[in-house]
């Protein structure tokens, strides 16, 4: 943060005039933001974790090959046949880094790693869907105004009035009945379904923000200037407004990802996620609740969710500070 920290400090520090005169020239907004971001150690820490998580998700099969066992493989030999809990309490060893699940002895390490794939995949694409719908709707509503704006704004209000979680639960149940009539099935179908439901219901949040930004951009001088020079609607839209929406879209997309990670976990926790035996963090937690006396079972997936969401939040906060220092929320 280079913005003034002292409420009584002079505005001059934040204003461009306060910056070294030489440094400001020739740098794009992106470069300035990158400079700010690089200096924000916490945000960079979040970014590093995010990158690591993505790598873990991509290379889960390799990592599991080195350090674990196939995620769905049973290890009954690790289980006490009377209590169904891992022998020795957790089963944590060099062989099973995070121990094993009760009942069937599956490798928690492998399952947490594979869980990252589902979690991130769904969170990313659901966010993408929300951002695409939200941006298009927001820009259309904000740019064209009038009845188009009214219609889209009302639709957004209606969406926000739905009990999101309950509705997603029910919708997934209903849509699953279509299963046989669709080309894709199994996990792929469920993943698409979850992406659709999560992404589709979240777009109004982005939509509202983008609409507001578009409205204010439309009134700004440089758009007026362009218009007075005879620029036409599409030109203004694509050359003047959309580029200025990149920053808010990027910020809110980054902050929507952790929300979606939590949302996917909640759906899996409530039993409508990806079907067994595919490992998901929410699904693991839901299983682990029944074995709360074997706490390592809930600890690892719980921590995985926590670290992922925290990392994205930290990075998102930093990104916002960097791209939009005025909104220091």
């Amino acid at each position: 943060m280079t913005a003034p920290l002292d409420p009584t400090a002079p505005a001059v520090v934040a204003a461009p005039s306060g910056l070294p005169a030489g440094t400001i020239q020739g740098r794009s907004l992106g470069q300035i933001a990158w400079m700010r971001l690089k200096r924000d150690k916490v945000a960079m820490g979040g970014a590093v974790v995010v990158v690591l998580l993505i790598l873990i998700a991509i290379f889960a099969p390799v990592l599991v090959g080195w350090f674990g066992h196939p995620p769905n493989e049973f290890h009954q030999e690790m289980i006490d046949p009377s209590t169904m809990t891992p022998k020795g309490g957790t089963g944590i060893s060099g062989d099973f880094l995070f121990g094993v699940e009760p009942l069937n002895g599956r490798d928690i390490f492998s399952r947490v790693l594979y869980g990252a794939r589902i979690s991130l995949l769904i969170a990313f694409f659901a966010t993408l869907l929300s951002v695409v719908i939200g941006t298009v709707m927001g820009v259309v509503a904000g740019f064209f105004g009038g009845w188009v704006d009214t219609l889209i704004s009302r639709a957004m209000d209606a969406f926000l009035a739905f009990p999101l979680l309950v509705f997603s639960l029910a919708l997934i149940g209903v849509l699953a009945q279509f299963e046989t009539s669709l080309a894709v099935k199994g996990d792929t179908l469920r993943i698409l379904l979850l992406i659709f439901v999560i992404g589709f219901f979240n777009w109004p949040y982005i939509g509202r923000i983008i609409r507001g930004q578009t409205l204010s951009l439309r009134e700004r001088e440089f758009v007026d200037a362009a218009r007075s020079l005879g620029a036409r609607g599409p030109y203004i839209l694509f050359r003047e407004i959309l580029p200025n929406l990149i920053a808010p879209v990027l910020i809110y997309a980054t902050l929507l990802i952790p929300t979606n990670v939590l949302f996917e976990a909640a759906l899996s926790f409530l039993g409508v996620g990806i079907p067994a035996p595919t490992a998901t963090w929410g699904g693991m937690l839901s299983d682990a609740v029944k074995y709360y006396t074997v706490p390592h079972f809930m600890f690892f997936p719980g921590m995985a969710i926590f670290i992922t969401v925290l990392a994205f939040n930290l990075f998102g906060d930093g990104l916002r500070d960097a791209l939009d220092p005025k909104s220091s929320r």
């Binding site: 280079t2 003034p4 409420p7 002079p10 910056l19 005169a21």
Partner: protein, 341 residues
């Protein structure tokens, strides 16, 4: 005893990028009933100075040194609480952009009453009466009705009048007006300036007007202080500054001053370049990167910091150019240009 005296005031702000030297060794005096205009670009330290006098940097991160003497009291070393009791009563401030400077949720009357009651132990009723009087005095029509309006319900000029009413509500002896007319259109500007002149006369207050607009100080000021990069670069009477300015920066300001008597089509003479960084202040004379005459200082402009020296009869200038050179340039190069245009 001088009513207000600043001695070598320095106000520095630490930041991630380094120390921001917003005010760097400023001294001046001001007597009751007199008006001082402080002029400079944004970032020159004029607003920081005014807030510093009011003690509004206390308790923050600002590093303040030097002395501020107000009516025999030193304020830099005084406790924050003591300075607070002086604020509003002994010294008051009129801010630019009254729309943002007044709280949007409270009525204008309530905000004036609040200022009054903080310093006077009176009932709400009395305070309200006083508020209406003040509004009346600053020329707001139907003050008994407008007292219950919110700032956003006022026009720009009315808001500035209300702001002035609020500042004057406790009969301050020192009044600081920070860009009091910047946000207003030209005709209203004139009205407000008239109002301030009248009020100052009535209250016999010392007035500091802070502005980047020489036109404003021309109307009101007895003395004028020109600031650049946290330092005073020229000080003198209004006549000194307007008739015999000696600093190239002041020339630039005069050149960029819009005048009602000028044709619209004529171009102003802006100062080249942008204001300096307050962290890495240019070496030597802070103005040298923008100074057209820097090459006539024999290289001193980049190496030595010029002193603020008396040119003649209290007229102070901070410049490496010799007085003769300065006068010659003004008379031969600048003045004819300004008048011709």
């Amino acid at each position: 005893m001088t009513f207000l005296e600043l001695k070598d005031l320095r106000i520095h702000f630490p930041s991630d990028d380094g120390l921001v030297k917003s005010v760097d060794g400023l001294s001046f005096r001001l007597e009751r009933g007199k008006t001082l205009g402080i002029v400079g670009e944004s970032g020159s330290g004029k607003s920081v100075t005014s807030l510093g006098i009011l003690g509004l940097h206390k308790g923050g991160r600002a590093k303040i040194s030097g002395e501020i003497w107000l009516d025999g009291e030193e304020l830099v070393s005084a406790s924050a609480e003591h300075v607070r009791t002086l604020r509003g009563k002994k010294m008051a401030m009129i801010f630019q952009d009254p729309l943002s400077a007044m709280h949007p949720f409270y009525t204008v009357g309530a905000q004036i009453m609040e200022a009054y009651r903080i310093h006077h132990d009176v009932s709400k009723k009395v305070a309200r009466k006083h508020a209406i009087e003040m509004l009346d005095r600053v020329g707001i029509p139907q003050p008994d009705r407008r007292v219950d309006s919110h700032p956003h319900e006022f026009s720009g000029g009315m808001r500035q009048r209300a702001m002035i009413a609020m500042a004057l509500s406790c009969d301050p002896e020192l009044l600081i007006a920070d860009e009091p007319t910047t946000a207003l259109d030209v005709t209203v500007q004139a009205q407000i300036l008239d109002l301030m002149r009248d009020l100052q006369r009535d209250f016999n207050a010392a007035l500091i007007i802070i502005t980047h607009d020489l036109g404003v100080v021309a109307e009101l000021s007895d003395d004028i202080l020109v600031m650049y990069a946290g330092k005073a670069i020229e000080y003198g009477t209004a006549e000194d500054i307007f008739e015999r300015p000696e600093h190239p920066y002041t020339w630039g300001l005069l050149g960029s001053m819009p005048r009602l008597d000028r044709e619209r089509t004529e171009r102003l003479l802006p100062i080249k370049g942008s204001p300096p960084s307050l962290i890495n202040v240019p070496s030597g004379c802070a103005f040298h990167p923008r100074c057209v005459y820097a090459d006539r200082t024999g290289g001193r402009s980049t190496s030595d910091v010029p002193e603020l020296l008396e040119s003649e009869g209290g007229h102070l200038v901070r410049c490496h150019l010799s007085r003769d050179v300065r006068r010659a340039v003004w008379e031969n190069e600048i003045k004819p240009n300004l008048e011709a245009s």
